[in-house]
Symmetry: C2
Subunit: 224 residues, 2 copies
Amino acid sequence: MAGILLVEDDPSVRTGLELALTRQGHSVTAYATGEEALDHVRARRPEIVILDVMLPGIDGVEVCRRIRRLDSLPIILLTARGDDLDVVVGLEAGADDYVVKPVEPRVLDARIRAVLRRLESASSDRISFGDLVIDRGALKVTLSGREVHLTPTELRLLLELVRHPGQVLNRRHLLRAVWDHNHVADSRLVDACVQRIRAKIEPVPAEPVYIHTVRGFGYRFSPP
Amino acid sequence: MAGILLVEDDPSVRTGLELALTRQGHSVTAYATGEEALDHVRARRPEIVILDVMLPGIDGVEVCRRIRRLDSLPIILLTARGDDLDVVVGLEAGADDYVVKPVEPRVLDARIRAVLRRLESASSDRISFGDLVIDRGALKVTLSGREVHLTPTELRLLLELVRHPGQVLNRRHLLRAVWDHNHVADSRLVDACVQRIRAKIEPVPAEPVYIHTVRGFGYRFSPP
DNA sequence: CCGGAACGTGGAAGTTATTTGACCGTTACA
DNA sequence: TGTAACGGTCAAATAACTTCCACGTTCCGG
């Protein structure tokens, strides 16, 4: 499933884990030293790194720090020592998880998935509120699966509202955020734009579910 | 530092953790039951949830699943049982980490930070490549600090290229991704658009640094 | 209940972006 | 070295977007 870089100096543990992870559907590359691992990271970015702490030469925590300097790719530290201090030091070095050996392959697999899932959902370009999905990567908005075409200004206004869910944003704020320029401050611009967005995303524009008017103040986005 | 929602039914453990986390600079809200926690999540989104597994009423794993249905906010499961199966089930339920009690407060703190750090670095609204910064929140592009105005199509094309750094994307792919419809394959749409982007972001458009032409295949975005 | 303020709504006019085709330079390959 | 395929560039036509205005509706205090 994922391109895993495994770094473990003990040959039996290494081949054991490699086999188990491969069996679980991952594609694994294994090395015995930190230097090799760093070269591998530089050359071909793996999806995730599983790093033994006790390594000959550069130790795992240091490898972790150096990888962090290169990239923000996920790292799981693996160690025989479950000392509290070790855990804290490891995590502070930039690791995403810290697993104590011996570890059941399926547990390691679950933790790998958890880290990757988090990365996936966080770096996902999608934000969704009920039926409304905003894909910030493709700059597309869909409502119950059907694509809704929003113009640039509309999209920027919607994104600005969505970025502060539940909060009321006044017209001045929205004009600054969406229209940048020192405009003639015709605050009706905002109204007109909100209306157009509502016409596109609200099932019943007269009774908005997403963008609510707060009379005298501005507009508030709140999920239905 | 962070708005933590702590759910733990044992009063002594609850107040102990609350105190420790508060002392570490977090702002903590604590509840004893899953129902209360779910209400809290709905009403005021916490930054992270720390959830005991053994709860009266709805158990922690189920609360975790329900929170996941609402939101993708980070969840750390806390439990007295360190059984392998429990860990796997908990992580599969959508938890980001699984910590076995008793836990040293500084270890828990380190794990909280690790999860939040991961979220932070991944959900950043900005992507930068050398002098080129793409702000996906404001939908703005800046080159060495100066704003560059890209039209919607230009921005979408750039984002599509940037999403696959180093990879060559052919015209058909780009037409699909950026223009949706199945356009006539032989068109200068992509070329013309790439040209306009280059005119705006490349110091010397004739010798592109960001968007490279791969003759016979398409275009590749690669950081300078 | 009335009057005014705030907001919703539709449309016309002006502005900007996109598409298209033609033409030219470059490159790959025989 | 010739030539066909490929990509770059430009300008004009078309399409889309934004703005602004005018009028209708709702809401709220008096």
